[in-house]
Amino acid sequence: MMHAEGLVLRFGAVAALDDVAMEIHPGEVLAIVGESGSGKTSLLRVLAGLQPVQAGSVVFDGQEVLSLSDAAKRRLMRTEWGFIHQNARDALRLDISAGGNVGERLMAAGARHYGRIREETAHWLRRVEIDPARMDENPRNFSGGMQQRLQIARTLITRPRLVFMDEPTGGLDVSVQAKLLDLIRGLVAELGLAVVLVTHDIAAARLLAHRIMVMRHGRVVEEGLTDRVLDDPRHAYTQLLVSSVLAA
């Protein structure tokens, strides 16, 4: 579905990406883990066409993403792709209603029938466990977890095939994280989504991902089946990462 190779991204003397390759197949959940500064978020932004690179290629459905026009990238982001930000407020519009935030994406993708948009919006609010009765409220009044679920509804209503997620549970209370992770897990399996998930939360990666990539200093140090990488880590850095997790 998507593959990338030879990605190089430098900020001055610092290499955010140093010859990185990846691939993802339909229905597959790939977690990219590593500490802050490992390059994982840079990689996500490059794959989603949000960040230009010095070298390399990203191919989605046979087309080179990096050479697409901005308009073509926006079209992909409205239809085939979705992007879930760590901070829901970066994605939501706080000046319009919760329902407006969700239905707006559908309108941007071409839907025009008001009743049907409202119906579909209510359906997606229920899917993310938000009472549709709160559709007309302003999302500013929602808790952090609810805002995050609203962002998920807003992203998935257009039925993307590939979703990029940047620390989707970061900054939330632990109990809220568990609920959100489980919600994401259910939706991903049910909709057969391909997901590229960036996280520093090893437990979240274990719960959601089929495959895992461990990054450090802009390079992929280890990659493979999630439980294999986490239970039998080979690289010194992966061993450190796994052994640093507190068992609950």
Partner: protein
């Protein structure tokens, strides 16, 4: 018909955080299992029985050798398979019941048991009936089926785990101490499930701490020898 053929398998651990400590665990392991056969791994504690099982399951990578498994009519080498192939192998061919259930928050027990069937495309109602039957057979009252197993006792969690492992028919089923936390009545149910799975053509590779259980289910023993430190 041979289902699994392990050839010249070696497994070492390199513990970088312990100053690069090198631990050889398996050397030159060769083992074959046929359909309908149950092989019990035996050997002293620490000899590498669980490690061998985890290598076959793909949970541990191997250092050398092959783990040939008959998957959908073709031989695949688990030791060299990529993540996507391993997912397909685990869905269709290779079942594993670990000693402990890895609990997924908020998911009801019935869904945990039905999940491997749903992953194969079995319709939801059929999968859930099968899941319910297995849980009841393992003496899990229906009132518990709708609850996530996080608050269950160890024995109850293990029965959810076992029901999940026996729900689909796997050509090869790996069992790591399946009766360790069960009472005699439930151990008896597990012996029945193993016997039925063998009759249905499953090859079973197990670690059975309980000698009486082992004697009743195993057709053959396979001894795992501790590796003598040579380095």
């Amino acid at each position: 018909m041979t289902v699994l053929r392990v050839e010249a398998l070696a497994k070492d651990f390199m513990l970088h955080l312990q100053g690069g400590l090198h631990m050889p665990v398996l050397r030159d392991v060769a083992l074959a299992i046929g359909a309908g056969e149950c092989v019990a791994l035996v050997g002293p504690s620490g000899a590498g029985k669980s490690t061998l099982m985890r290598c076959i399951q793909g949970n541990y990578g191997v250092g050398a050798g092959h783990i040939m498994l008959r998957h959908c009519g073709e031989w695949v080498d688990v030791a060299a398979a990529d993540a996507r192939l391993m997912r397909a192998v685990r869905r269709d061919t290779l079942g594993y019941v670990s000693q402990f259930l890895r609990v997924i928050p908020r998911v009801p027990s019935l869904e945990i048991v039905a999940e491997p069937l749903l992953a194969r495309g079995v319709p939801g109602d059929i999968a859930r009936v099968r899941a319910k039957d297995l849980l009841l057979r393992l003496n899990m009252p229906e009132a518990l089926h709708g609850l996530p197993p996080a608050t269950f006792s160890g024995g109850e969690q293990q029965r959810v785990n076992l029901a999940r492992g026996f729900a689909p028919h796997y050509p090869l089923l790996l069992l790591d101490e399946p009766t360790a936390s069960l009472d005699a009545a439930n151990a008896e149910v597990v012996i029945g499930l193993i016997t039925e799975a063998k009759r249905a053509g499953s090859a079973i590779l197990g670690i059975f701490h309980d000698a009486a259980v082992r004697a009743r289910v195993a057709d053959r023993l396979f001894e795992v020898h501790p590796v003598r430190e040579t380095a």
